[in-house]
Structures are given as structure tokens and as C-alpha cells.
Symmetry: C2
Subunit: 417 residues, 2 copies
């Protein structure tokens, strides 16, 4: 299942990450680090492991199944998020587990956790404990509201979407808000976590010292929402949300075709003229209602009705090719599956096939890749994944840390691993 693009080295090779994360946000951060070449050691509870292991469907001997049937059937969630990671078991609530964790930290460059705020310290695996054994360690905490927050509780993606304004900003005036169909709050915080970690690595080259990085899901998504000038738009009498089209940029937006939808952008004069030609209605450009940008914005409603009257009679493919021929930016609104099979994307490893370590790839199953191409480095995942909880205990604890067979025996007997 190696998806490295070439035999070039990866940019983060030589760095070791201790991964305390579970679910989606944290594991996506360490997935990015793994794909960039870092060696990731994932720590799981010996009994239950990562929550993502329980997400249906599963992939295994009998292909895709809704209920787990065999010992080596693996949840698609785990299969995709644990790529390129070694997996060890460690019950952080057992005495002695902290020693194992700190032995790992001594050898590491980076630690990542996404417990609820304060939990890592309570378990004895927080930044202070880590720094005491390795002052160079870069320790990243990823949480709902930040490590500075007193609020407990799980910060699910939908809760953060609601609080951030992202839901409100989507959809149409006088319509309900829109739940965005991709988990952007869960995904953005890890992306900023990786930026924080890499920035701290750069600083460590100068100072030799590590530090604590603290990223919140609410902050990451709200900072994105904040790029639009909402107060300025309000001051200028503009709506915070305008549905499928944006009338102040008319013609601009999503239009219904016979068999689907397309998005088009024809804000500027040349593009608007191109649209009218594609509509075989070139004289619209001479109509005082549509002959310049201000007029088109003022008459956006009737203009949009004319466009819809045209698009709704034609298939998506026809509308797209007619507009492309006129140089008007246009795209079909695609199903996610179509999107991730796009050869432009798959060939750049921006999406990757899903593969079971033992049973190989699954037809048409795709997952997130590393959407960055390096001229002097490769990206991709080592051929390693913990199918079973604690699968790499021997590799990590004996080979890497040098634990004796007696120590391993004792850790197993006491249920620490």
C-alpha cells in the first residue's frame, strides 16, 4: 500500500512523532506528518483502541461488510486514518504506563494529543511531563476551544460549525442555515496544528528548545470565516448569505440544468458577453438591462431567470462545453466520488486508493492524500498500519526502546500494554 510518488526522500524523514490522538481531528494531523515522512507511533488503549475502529463499514477477507465478521476486518475509517503509523497498546490509566510513554518521548521530536482540555496532564502525559524528560520536544494539543479553555465537553464538528458562523454563511436568505457536508472543523484544526509543529521545528533549529502548541477547532474555523469582511458587508447593506448565486457579482453562481447543476462565473464584461454568445442570445449584451456590470447587478433577478431558462433545457455536459468554448469559467457540480476519481487529482496523489494491508485495494474506494507536490521530495505512506491493537509493541518497545523480554512480559501481565 505504499503510495510514495518516487524513491526520493520525504521532507520530514528522521522525525519521530508520538501519537496520542483518536477519532478524526488528531489522527488527521499525524496522518499528514506520516505522509510527509515522519515516523508516527500511535498509542491505543489495549481494550478498545481508537474509536474510529468501530465505524462501519469494514474492509477485509469478504470485501466491504457492514458488520465486522473476521478478526482482521478493519473499519474504513481506521484503514484510512492509521496509514503509515506504527500502533502500540498502552493503558494510560495503569501505573507504569507513564514510564513507557516518557521512554518514547525521550526518543521523539513531536507529541500530538487531542484529549479534552486538561486530560493529558491529568493522565501524566502532558507537556510538562514530556518537557521534563525531553526539553526539545514539540508537544501539540488539539482541542475544541483551546488548552486555555475551562470548558469540558466534546466539541463535535457540527457544534463548531454552528458556533463559527460557517453554517449561517451558507444557504439562502430566509432559509435555514446549512450543515456543511464535509467535517471542516475536524479537518482544519489539524492542518493548523501541522503548521504550528513545523514552525516550532524551525524555531528549534535556532534555539534547541521545544515548546507547547495549542490549536482549537473553534479558533481554526472562525479564523477562516473571518477572512470575509462580514461587518463591512453589513455596513454596505450586503447579505451575509445569498444562496446559490451572488447578485452583486451577477452573473455568478450555481444554475440548474436538465440533469444536474453547473457553477459559472461571468462577472466581467468579456465573460458576460461570452455567456450571452453561449446562450445564442448575443443581443442581451446590447440590452440596456445587461449591457454593463452595474446594469447586470441591478437586474440580476431577470438575468438569472434568463440563464436558468437556458441551462434547464440542456444537459450539464452541453452547458459546460458551450461555456468553455466561449472561455467562461464553468464547472459541473460533481458528486464527491466523481471528484476523487478525477485523474488530475488521483495522478497527483491528492487522493489515494484505500487498501487493506492483507487484502489489497478496494475498487473505487478513495481517501485523502497529501495535496502538496515537492520537486525535491516525495510524499506517501510507509507500508505499515496497526490492523490489531498493539500490533507493533514488539517492534517499538523491544527494537526501538530496547525493552527486555522480562519487561515486556511484566507490562503485559499488569495490563499496561
Amino acid at each position: 500500500m505504499t503510495t510514495s510518488t518516487a524513491l526520493k526522500t520525504r521532507p520530514l524523514e528522521g522525525l519521530r512523532v508520538i501519537d496520542l490522538t483518536r477519532a478524526l481531528a488528531g489522527p488527521y494531523a499525524t496522518l499528514l506528518l506520516a505522509g510527509l515522512g515522519a515516523e508516527v507511533i500511535k498509542i491505543e488503549d489495549p481494550k478498545h483502541g481508537d474509536l474510529a475502529r468501530e465505524n462501519s463499514p469494514y474492509v477485509g477477507k469478504n470485501g466491504v461488510v457492514i458488520e465486522k465478521q473476521h478478526d482482521d476486518d478493519v473499519s474504513v475509517s481506521h484503514l484510512t486514518r492509521a496509514r503509515g503509523k506504527y500502533g502500540i497498546s498502552l493503558d494510560l490509566k495503569k501505573p507504569g504506563a507513564q514510564d513507557v510513554f516518557l521512554d518514547l518521548v525521550k526518543t521523539a521530536d513531536i507529541v500530538v494529543e487531542n484529549f479534552t482540555s486538561g486530560t493529558a496532564d491529568r493522565l501524566g502525559v502532558g507537556y510538562e511531563a514530556s518537557k521534563a524528560v525531553n526539553p526539545g520536544v514539540i508537544y501539540c494539543s488539539l482541542s475544541g476551544f483551546g488548552a486555555t479553555s475551562k470548558e469540558g465537553g466534546k466539541a463535535m464538528d457540527i457544534i463548531i460549525q454552528a458556533l463559527s458562523g460557517a453554517m449561517y454563511a451558507s444557504g439562502a436568505v430566509n432559509e435555514p442555515p446549512v450543515r456543511i457536508g464535509i467535517p471542516i472543523a475536524d479537518m482544519l484544526a489539524p492542518v493548523f496544528s501541522v503548521i504550528g509543529i513545523l514552525s516550532a521545528l524551525e524555531q528549534r533549529h535556532k534555539t534547541g528548545e521545544g515548546q507547547h502548541i495549542d490549536v482549537s477547532m473553534l479558533g481554526a474555523l472562525t479564523s477562516f470565516v473571518a477572512i470575509e469582511n462580514w461587518a463591512a458587508m453589513e455596513a454596505a447593506g450586503m447579505q451575509a448569505r445569498t444562496g446559490l448565486t451572488v447578485q452583486r457579482l451577477s452573473p455568478f453562481g450555481v444554475f440548474e440544468c436538465e440533469d444536474g447543476y453547473i457553477a459559472l462565473v461571468a462577472v466581467h464584461e468579456k465573460l458576460a458577453r461570452g455567456l450571452f454568445r453561449a446562450m445564442e442570445n448575443e443581443k442581451l449584451g446590447e440590452d440596456p438591462r445587461y449591457s454593463n456590470r452595474d446594469a447586470r447587478v441591478a437586474n440580476a433577478n431577470t438575468l438569472e431567470a434568463l440563464i436558468t431558462a437556458w441551462t434547464s433545457q440542456l444537459p450539464v455536459s452541453e452547458v459546460v462545453s458551450r461555456l468553455e468554448a466561449q472561455g467562461v469559467p464553468v464547472a459541473p457540480v460533481r458528486h464527491p466520488e466523481e471528484a476523487m476519481n478525477d485523474p488530475r487529482v488521483a495522478s497527483r496523489n491528492e487522493t489515494n486508493p484505500v487498501a487493506h494491508p492483507k487484502y489489497g485495494t478496494v475498487d473505487n474506494f478513495h481517501t485523502a492524500g497529501i495535496p502538496i507536490l515537492f520537486s525535491g521530495a516525495s510524499t506517501g505512506f510507509d507500508d505499515v498500519l496497526p490492523v490489531h491493537i498493539g500490533e507493533h509493541n514488539e517492534k517499538v518497545l523491544t527494537e526501538m526502546l530496547g525493552y527486555s523480554q522480562e519487561q515486556m512480559q511484566s507490562l503485559m501481565e499488569t495490563g499496561v500494554i
Copy 2:
């Protein structure tokens, strides 16, 4: 307008960035680098400058205005995206401009551009030209479909949203797709560009060599969409989009109140019981239709109707406080303005006040901050911003590069700067 959190150093201090970007995607990448401490030198066309300078509204002497009135009125877009950047003018189409650009590159660590694919090379300011004068330079190209693409044309945010599947995944079955109200395609590509740049910096510490980084808007957003297992969901008979609620997790979703909307998550037994108590209808937990998770999913329609009957009679604040009292994850669906004024976010500098260099902050105007907190470093923007095109020509070309007054005179006379 310095928004540094402390007097600590910033993690990327000492790095110099040459910034050829315009509009949103590219400038957001260099904005993140500036906020992390890099010195950014923004290059603008002497005549028109960055497109973002023309976006209404403007801020200046008379506060917020829709049309530019004074020479130092600045578009809110430019005011927020050019923070912490030096600005010089350079007409890349004039002979001699390449020499100035390459003199800058000789002193730089990083170059970022977001011209359409191939344009930078054509202008003589691409990676090969840059590498020839500085083999250590890390040169990042940000484009719609990637530097490997033959497709020209502008890749606007809405086009990429349509192609990536993100639009399709949002909204309800049998309803149109949803244009997401924040420019996620424009914003994600720069975030991955920064990860690429910082990863290449890490590699440079080992090799001494720079490289070319190539990030596409389509790839960045599609990789996000790809984290959900769409083919697996389809194989399992699940819809790609389910609107405001997700019935397979019921009760889960957005519900209408008397004066707005809330999001709630009560998937697990304890949370569902908490919801029923908040509804003052505890006996629902004994009703065989709602007494366990499978039953609730099977009867999601009637359960959602019961919840809406309750929420729709009460204000948002009341529903939120009743659910919070029962430990059920809940949040109001907030307007973006309310979100960016949240003290949890503002106090962490995840959003920043908007300020004009001469006229100060604007009431209630907020913009994107750096959503990463470092224990051993600060973030924030130097008190510098090119109000006028070429404002820092003297500072950059004379002071930093050591150009003589004769050289400056000649560059001005020939219209190069």
C-alpha cells in the same frame, strides 16, 4: 496595529519571503507566513497593484465608505490581507524587472506565486530562474489545478467547490447543491502551501537545497472531501448528503427554535436521555421507538418531529441552557459577526481587529488571525502595510538591496518600479 501576543520572538523570524501573489489564495499564504514572523516583501504592478485593492468597501479618514474618496482610503480586503507585508512596485513585463526580482531572490528563503500555471516562467520569475541565482530558495506555486496542468483559465473558489464534491455533499436529498458561504477552496490551498514550504525548510536544514512546491486548489479541497468514505457510504446504502440532520446518528443535527437555530448531538444513550429530560419528556426513553440507539435511528423522522415541536416553541438561549444543564452537546447557530467577536476566539488572537495604519481600528471589524498558540513564541503582524503601491521601494531596494539613487532613478524613469 501590532497584534503580537507578547514580546517573545515569532517562530519564523529571520526568514524572508518574496511575494508575487494577488487576490486571495496566494496572499493568505504569505499572510500566515508574516503572522508567524517571516519578513514578507509583496510585489505589485506599479499601475494597478493587487486586485484586492479595488474591493469595496474602503476604510480611511471618513471611516467606512463604499466608494474610494481619499488617496489613503484602503479596501478592507487589502487592509486585512497585506498586514505585516512590505510593498514594492515592479512591472514584471518591463525589461530589467527580472534583475530586480532576482536580486531580491538572492536574499530570500521563500518565493510564493499564484499566477495561472506557466505564467511565472513566461515572465522570467519562475522556479528555474530563481534557483539559478539561489539554489537554497523554496519556491511555492499555488494554482487552480496544479503546475502540472495544461489547463489555463482562472480557477475561482466557486468552480473548485463545484468540482471537488464539497457543494454536492452539503444540503438535503432532492434539493439543489449548496454554495458554501466561506471561500474554502481559496483558503485551503494556501494552508497546504504553508505546510509544503515549512516541510521543505526542514528538509533544507539537512540538504542545504531548496525546491519547488506545487499546490492546487482542486487537490487541496478534494483531499478534504476524500476523508469521508463516499463509496463505502454508498455501498452501505447511505446518502451522500442528508440536510440538517443525520438520521443514522439520530438525534443529531440542526433544529429550528423560535428565534433561530441550534445544533445538537445526542447520539449515545446518556445524551439521548439528557435530551429527553431537557424536553421534560423523560418517558420517551422508555418508549420502545426511542429506548435505544437502533430504535431511535429507525424512528428518526418522528423523533426529529418531536424535538422540533419542542425547540420551535422556545428561544435559542433557553434550548441551549436546558440542554447544557443536561450535559448534551449543543450550540447556537451564530452569525459570523457574533462568532468572530467571541472572547474565546478574540482573546487567543484567532481573530484580529481590522486597523488602518493611519486611522486606527474600525469598530467591530474583525479579520483572520493566526489560530495557533505557541508557549515559546508569539504570533502577530509587524506594524507595516503598503497603503500605496510601492510604498516600501526605498526601504527594500535601497536599504535592503543597496541600490544606489542613480539605479532607483533609472528604474523609476523606465517604469520598472
